[in-house]
């Protein structure tokens, strides 16, 4: 099995001293890849700066112009969490371009599984707004490129935070199925089970909120019990993963209780939704404990590649089973209500 890695992107050009979303994160990810000792089974893909036409598939052109100008003017804080530096515009475009280049490499048959090792991360970025450390929505930009070529794209987001930006961008797009597991309540405050997609894409958003302390078995249960029927119906041709590793129990930004072994199990489960090898791409999102990030990357990729790796035991017994059952009921009820409305009434909602 050959691993394709796009990047790395996001070293010193995008850095704010003391901020947890920092260049060392990408270095930890690459160290996690190195730990697999893949030799010639590792294929690196050079990133390029995504072009405006590729970005405007998901981002408002006015926002892109403002962001470029903001960086050119010296940058600063975009909100209490999110910063931009003079070179952040270039870094963000390279991060987006790394995703596009990686997808293209898989299409050419360069490998079996891919990782896009980039920062700044992307899944909170809205079409017209940066937030949650994110400037451009890397995974959405790649997914939109695939949809433009007629593909059906499943996005699984196992970052500990809900990917509000990705959800909003594809809210009404029937060609993208968005599935998110996330701690709730937590930033960004969205991601309730009742959020099921827009009038043209009812059921194409699946939210699986989980309580603090939830363990890996609960995350897997949530996907299997609530999301799997939607995934089977959707029958994706590509699977992209918002692979944040901040659901790890050591992460300082949240309170889920997964181990690196859980990410290995999750990765194998998600890979089974792809129609064949060479159709699975993981995009780095969160993950702020460098040791946990490195271990989690190694185990996730190792499990996908059938490589030798050491991992922590998968976790069991945390809270959340009742919340999963509640989410299933709420989703079913929301779908039932929505389908009772006429098409024009659905649009008004």
């Amino acid at each position: 099995m050959i691993l394709v890695v796009g990047g790395p992107v996001g070293q010193a050009e995008h850095e704010d001293e003391g901020h947890p979303e920092r260049p060392e994160r990408v270095a930890a990810v690459m160290a996690g890849v190195d730990d697999l000792h893949l030799g010639t089974d590792l294929h690196m893909v050079a990133p390029y700066e995504a072009e405006t036409a590729q970005l405007t598939r998901v981002h408002d052109s006015g926002y892109l112009e403002e962001l470029a100008a903001f960086c050119q003017a010296g940058g600063g804080d975009l909100d209490p969490d999110t910063y931009a530096k003079p070179d952040s515009w270039t870094a963000a475009r390279r991060a987006a371009g790394a995703g596009l280049a990686t997808v293209d490499a898989l299409r050419r048959g360069a490998g079996d599984v891919a990782l896009v090792a980039v920062r700044p991360p992307g899944h909170h970025a809205l079409s017209d707004r940066a937030m949650g450390f994110c400037l451009l929505n890397n995974i959405a930009i790649s997914a939109a490129a695939l949809v433009a070529d007629g593909e059906r794209v499943l996005i699984v987001d196992w970052d500990v935070h809900h990917g509000n930006g990705t959800q909003a961008i594809f809210w009404d797009d029937p060609n993208v199925l968005y599935v998110s597991t996330h701690q709730w309540p937590l930033f960004p405050g969205s991601g309730a089970a009742t959020e099921i997609g827009g009038p043209n894409a009812l059921g194409r958003t699946v939210n699986l909120p989980l309580p603090a302390g939830a363990t890996g078995d609960v995350v897997r249960q949530a996907i299997e019990e609530v999301a799997l029927p939607a995934i089977d119906d959707f029958d994706p041709t590509w699977v992209l993963v918002s692979a944040g590793f901040d659901a790890h129990r050591a992460d300082p930004l949240a309170e889920l209780a997964l181990s690196s072994g859980d990410f290995a199990d999750l990765a194998r489960m998600v890979a089974s939704y792809a129609p064949r090898t060479g159709r699975l791409v993981l995009f780095l999102e969160g993950g702020y404990d460098l040791g946990a990030l490195r271990k989690s990357v190694t185990t996730t990729l190792g499990s996908l590649l059938g490589a030798l790796y050491q991992c922590e035991y998968p976790t069991f017994g945390g809270p959340g089973t009742e919340m999963v059952h509640r989410a299933r009921g709420q989703r079913r009820e929301a779908l039932h209500r929505a389908w009772q409305l006429t098409p024009s009434e659905r649009r008004v909602r």
Binding site: P20, Y63, E66, L67, A69, F70, A73, G76, D77, L78, D79, P80, D81, T82, D128, R129, A130, M131, G132, F133, H161, N164, P185, L186, F187, P188, G189, S190, P252, L253, A254
Partner: protein, 140 residues
């Protein structure tokens, strides 16, 4: 026009936000409306912890300054960025405000630039009327 019975005001502890809170409380007294002070907890604040209690205390002090018993002022903490939390405050439960009030610049913004300005973003996204209190207009 829907009568204003409940005012939500954004508060992050900045001088501009303090001015907005004073303005909102003064208006609330004049029109006999309720005030909900809204604070957004972002990624970094969640990780750091401890900031919310300090801000709630500061909001109570502002209420006293405006001649309002702090117990009469509601306090709402929402997860998210300031714009999203305030938009939600105007769209339904639990806040369900008829009017949003914010300072002209929050903690995250750069003077002279629209990007990163909560007030500018709210002007685009709020579904209820929005008042932006300019710098230095406290209580006028």
């Amino acid at each position: 026009m829907k009568p204003v019975k409940r005012i939500a005001v954004g508060f992050d502890g900045s001088p501009d936000a303090e001015a907005a809170v004073r303005w909102a409380m003064t208006l609330a007294k004049q029109i006999d409306a309720e005030v909900v002070v809204v604070h957004a907890v972002g990624l970094l604040e969640h990780a750091a912890g401890g900031g919310v209690a300090r801000l709630e205390k500061a909001a109570a002090e502002l209420a006293r300054e405006c001649g309002i018993e702090p117990a009469q002022v509601q306090w709402h903490v929402g997860d998210g960025d300031p714009c999203s939390v305030l938009v939600r405050a105007g769209t339904g439960d639990p806040v369900a405000a008829d009017l949003l009030v914010v300072g002209s610049r929050g903690r995250g913004a750069h003077a002279g630039l629209l990007l990163g300005s909560t007030s500018h973003e709210l002007a685009e996204h709020s579904v209820v009327p929005l008042v932006i209190v300019p710098v230095g207009r406290a209580g006028r």
